[in-house]
Symmetry: C2
Subunit: 96 residues, 2 copies
């Protein structure tokens, strides 16, 4: 739950309440709570909005958010590590 931890940290550093951040994302507090704890997934637009709110590079958050989804996908799969390694190679390959 890298992404959730990070945005919770950013929120606390900014001394904002879930209620306040949730309002700016136009979703309710319980949902933001779930996102912070990784129980629910943020949407791409929310990630962008969060970067604005906390004034951080959107790329940083997107990266964590993506990484979380990858982890969610491969977790409790025996071949997780191999799969990631293959995906990584393939990605570099196809970039040409």
């Amino acid at each position: 739950m890298i992404f959730g931890n990070r945005i919770k940290e950013l929120r606390e550093d900014a001394k904002l309440l879930q209620r306040q951040v949730a309002a700016r994302l136009e979703l309710d507090t319980p949902l933001l709570s779930k996102i912070e704890r990784g129980e629910r997934r943020a949407r791409h637009e929310h990630v962008a909005a969060l970067a604005k709110i906390f004034n951080v590079d959107e790329k940083e958050l997107i990266t964590l958010w993506l990484a979380d989804q990858v982890l969610e996908l491969v977790k409790d799969q025996v071949e997780a590590e191999n799969a990631l390694s293959i995906a990584s190679k393939e990605l570099k390959n196809s970039k040409k």
Copy 2:
């Protein structure tokens, strides 16, 4: 489309038709065709069944199948490589 290519290759090596393999998976030919071309995703059970049909290690296929899903998830995301790298680190970390 690593997984699809692989099962197509296995199928051709085994000199089987889509129709025949599809029958053993209990799904129709067009769907298998799509799976081979990566237009549709195979289910976990199908991967297991395919390993049996072609007499290969299930892990090999699962790995490719997972890698495909990871690629699908991160493709056309700018931070794809970073995200994979972070996910990979995190995975190794959490394994303890």
